[in-house]
Amino acid sequence: MEMKGSQLIPAPAAEVWAALLDSDVLRDCVPGCQEMAGDPEQGFEATVVQKVGPVKATFRGAVTLEDMVPPESLTLRGEGKGGAAGFAKGGARITLTEEEEGTRLDYDVEAQIGGKLAQLGSRIINSFAKKMADEFFARFRARFDTTNPGA
């Protein structure tokens, strides 16, 4: 599965960078996230409950951060195991570019899906991944949206 996208975050690059490495921020923004712990040096561990097409599962995953060039770019590598539901593993390359209205975040994801997810969910993986990314960034962007006091 491959996915590319670009988001404009209304904040300076340094703030976006810090938020991306904050386990509390990630817990709030990752859809279905139950637990998130860790730090940029040791990596993060997370528990996420999600339903992909007909497959519902609790995924336990570990993510490590590589090639960190603050506040410009980093690579995430990780694997999420959903037990009988299968697994997903892969990486995402993230680059931050400051622009007039904030920071452009480009992401390039490459993931491999296995088990029941691949068998039953293959036809919906791409749309599911896009939906997850959209939800994540909607929440992530909202944190910086000063016109929204609830964030």
Partner: protein, 778 residues
């Protein structure tokens, strides 16, 4: 009474009504009181080393009674499942070596394909077992997965079997390789085609299911499981359990489709049987459709390069087939025989080709093992011959029907011993070709093509001739008895998986014995109760069991004549038999056939000593294969803009020998044609590079539906009876599939030829056709 078979046109159908009303008894309907439920934990990676299996969380769930892994099965004395039928040389005399692939019932240290069973969870409900199975954590260290039907010349990383550094399963040759190559090289025209037979899923409507129990007193296992006949299953099952054949009792009741995949023992049957023994209670398991796609034996999956050397006048001088057969992770059933010896048995086809050579190589991959699927090598063989004929016709600029005609074996040459030693005892191939041309109005096709073009449709027509082997195993026993309550009891091995065997065999019995259809008890599928014989494979039951029935009924009439002689004042020569009744000449005394056992018992009770009985086990012995043959024609239209294809007309002219009942022949042909169309235009198992199964449900594995079937179908019987059995029947179970893959492919190729499309590979989906047209016109 029924009409004499061979003339009946109305169906004799004793089975369908109960099945469609839900009154059948399929394996999942068999639920002994207190039976427990088993659910399997399966591998989510294609190739890897099992580092740990954590069952602790699962074991704590309420209702869970046992969780079993490879270690438990080993402790219980089980053995791996071994390949049963040796791979033999083309003459059948010398064993050909192949890689030994012991297949565990539960994977212990290594997994070799997605869906391979790793653990069995048994609970008091299916739901509890499933919930617990979801909690079993298996840690697998991944190895390089090997996917695809290709062979590396060099050793590969992480070979599937240490014995096979490049994953090669076997190498097999037939024919004089050098003479064939030299003749092709010297021929003025050399035509080569690469043909891929994609992986298929057998997909019977009834998924596999099993119920196992163990009786400690007798030390016997009882297994209920749908099969095509319990004999091979029983042998493999006993071997895997590490017990003698006398310690297993295998029963198949109603079976909803087999197609080759319900012949041999499967890992699940062994695992639930051990669990049943350890728990002291019956254990049931029924596959989900998702499990069926992951764990049922796969079909087809071979890559064929076929080369023909032709004269300028179209004579095929020599033919060479180079085949790579994908065995999957393990060699099972008759897997390695399908792309090798079965090809040799069928490759001569209807043509008088002087020289034929075959090289077949097997490759292991991290996929489900393959073994026969309806046709099992016959559709692949026909595909090579008939695609080659069409391509040669283009290159030689000879009409494709005329080219075939010039190469046909003549009826006058029968009996014809072919290059691989098989004897065609009958078969008029020119007649089936002529019949198909006439029935399909082949001559009038160009006008229909021109009309279609005005609607933006590319219309094409294609034909395929075939000759295939049928019979599979040449001995067929049948246990014939008549009971004191006046019923004929027939015990046979082959289990009907939807072919209405009971109707056909009962029809034959009643026609000969002159008794009503409801006076026959047909007994099949219980290994304790039927003679040792062969399962329902290779289009064999009509001709083989039917012939055994014919012999048994006639011999019983003769024994009955002697019995009537004892019971009456008449001499056997004076006793006539008609319509189920013996008549003693002179006295006019009559006795019904079905009354004889009762009368015998009475006579014996009165102290008379009469040794004769109506009962006997009769065995029919066939001299070899029979050779069903035919010619099919398909007419298709392809939408120029979308690639969407519709099969308009399909004509099948078949010589399956004498027809016992046309409606049954028609049903077999239609079903077979539908399965071939599935391969031709839509079905395909898809694994990604890492061995993940992407076609894991019927959302992604495209099963043919009524909308894909031909708009009109014409089925014509053109029998040229075989003298090799008393019925003159040749078999028809596989003919439809054998012919239809090639027939449809040739029609589509004809439709797209005008657009410059030359290379087409099945499945011929709309997207592939669109892509092919776009690439060709670019």
């Amino acid at each position: 009474m029924v009409e004499k078979y061979g003339t009946a046109q109305s169906p004799v159908d004793l089975e369908s009504e109960a099945l469609v009303k839900g009154q059948g008894q399929y394996t999942d309907d068999i639920a002994p009181a207190g039976a427990l439920h088993g659910v399997f934990v399966r591998s989510t990676v294609a190739h890897g080393i099992i580092r740990s299996i954590d069952t602790a969380a699962a074991a704590e769930l309420p209702g869970v009674l046992g969780i079993y892994t490879a270690r438990d099965l080993a402790d219980a004395g089980t053995n791996p499942i071994m390949f049963m039928v040796p791979l033999m040389s083309a003459d059948g005399k010398t064993p050909v070596p192949y890689v030994s692939t012991p297949r565990p019932a539960l994977a212990g240290d290594r997994v070799r394909h997605i869906g391979e069973a790793i653990a069995l969870v048994v609970a008091d409900s299916a739901g509890a077992a499933q919930d617990a199975a979801d909690l079993v954590e298996v840690d697998i260290e991944e190895l390089t997965a090997h996917i695809g039907t290709r062979l590396s010349e060099d050793p590969v990383e992480d070979p599937i079997w240490d014995e096979a550094p490049n994953n090669q399963a076997y190498t097999w040759y037939a024919g004089d390789q050098e003479a064939v190559q030299a003749t092709i090289a010297a021929s003025p025209y050399k035509v080569t085609l690469e043909l891929n037979n994609q992986r298929l899923a057998g997909s019977p409507m009834e998924p596999r299911a099993a119920t196992a129990s163990f009786d400690p007193e007798s030390g016997r296992y009882t297994l209920y499981a749908g099969s095509q006949g319990t004999m091979f299953l029983r042998k493999g099952f006993a071997d895997a359990l590490g017990v003698g054949m006398d310690k297993v009792h295998v029963i198949s009741k109603d079976v909803g489709g087999g197609f080759g995949l319900k012949v041999y023992v499967y890992p699940e049957y062994v695992a639930i049987s051990v669990a049943a023994r350890l728990l002291g209670q019956a254990v049931r398991w029924t596959a989900t459709r998702s499990e069926a796609l992951q764990a049922d034996q796969g079909g087809r999956d071979s890559h064929c390069t076929v080369t023909g050397g032709f004269d300028a006048d179209g004579q095929l001088n020599a033919l060479y087939c180079d085949i790579i057969g994908n065995m999957g992770a393990y060699s099972i059933g008759i897997g390695p025989r399908v792309p090798s010896s079965v090809i040799a048995e069928n490759i001569v086809g209807p043509y008088a080709t002087p020289l034929i050579g075959i090289r077949s190589r097997g490759v292991h991959s991290n996929t489900i093992p393959t073994s026969p699927y309806r046709g099992a090598g016959r559709p692949e063989t026909t595909y090579m011959l008939e695609r080659l004929m069409d391509e040669a016709a283009i290159q030689l600029d000879i009409d494709r029907v005329e080219l075939r005609r010039r190469n046909l074996i003549d009826r006058e040459q029968m009996p014809f011993t072919n290059q691989f030693g098989h004897v065609y005892d009958s078969g008029d191939f020119a007649a089936v070709l002529d019949g198909a041309m006439a029935s399909s109005d082949w001559a009038g096709f160009e006008a229909r093509r021109a009309e279609a073009a005005t609607r933006g449709k590319l219309r094409g027509i294609g034909c395929a001739l075939f000759v295939e082997t049928a019979g599979a195993y040449f001995q067929e026993p049948l246990d014939f008895r008549v009971t004191e309550d006046g019923m004929v009891e027939v015990r046979v091995v082959g289990v009907s998986t939807g072919q209405r065997h009971r109707s056909t065999i009962t029809h034959i019995a009643c026609s000969i014995l002159g008794i009503p259809l409801d006076k026959v008890r047909y007994i099949a599928g219980d290994s304790d109760d039927v003679p040792v014989g062969s399962p329902t494979v290779g289009s064999r039951v009509g001709q083989m069991t039917g012939s055994a029935m014919h012999i048994a009924a006639h011999s019983a009439i003769e024994r009955g004549r002697a019995i009537v002689g004892h019971l009456s004042s008449g001499q056997p020569n004076d006793i006539t038999f008609a319509n189920g009744v013996y008549t003693v000449a002179g006295t006019g005394e009559t006795m019904a056939f079905l009354d004889l056992p009762r009368r015998l018992a009475e006579a014996r009770a009165e102290g008379r000593e009469i040794e004769e009985t109506l009962d006997a086990v009769e065995t029919f012995q066939s001299p070899g294969f029979s050779f069903p043959n035919g010619c099919h024609v398909a007419e298709v239209e392809v939408d120029e803009l979308t690639g969407e294809m519709q099969i308009l007309n399909y004509t099948a002219v078949d010589d399956c020998g004498n027809v016992i009942n046309h409606r049954e022949v028609e049903a077999q042909l239609m079903g077979g044609i539908a399965q071939g169309i599935g391969q031709g235009i839509m079905e395909q198992m898809v694994y990604d590079e890492s061995g993940q199964l992407l076609s894991g449900s019927f959302m992604d594995y495209a099963m043919p539906r009524i909308t894909e079937m031909p708009q009109a179908m014409t089925i014509v019987d053109l029998p040229d009876p075989t003298p090799s059995n008393p019925l003159g029947a040749k078999g028809v179970g596989e003919s439809g599939t054998t012919a239809s893959v090639s027939t449809v492919a040739n029609a589509v190729a004809d439709a797209l030829r005008a657009r410059g499309v030359t290379n087409l590979q099945t499945p011929l989906t709309a997207s592939r056709l669109w892509e092919a047209m776009r690439t060709a016109s670019a």
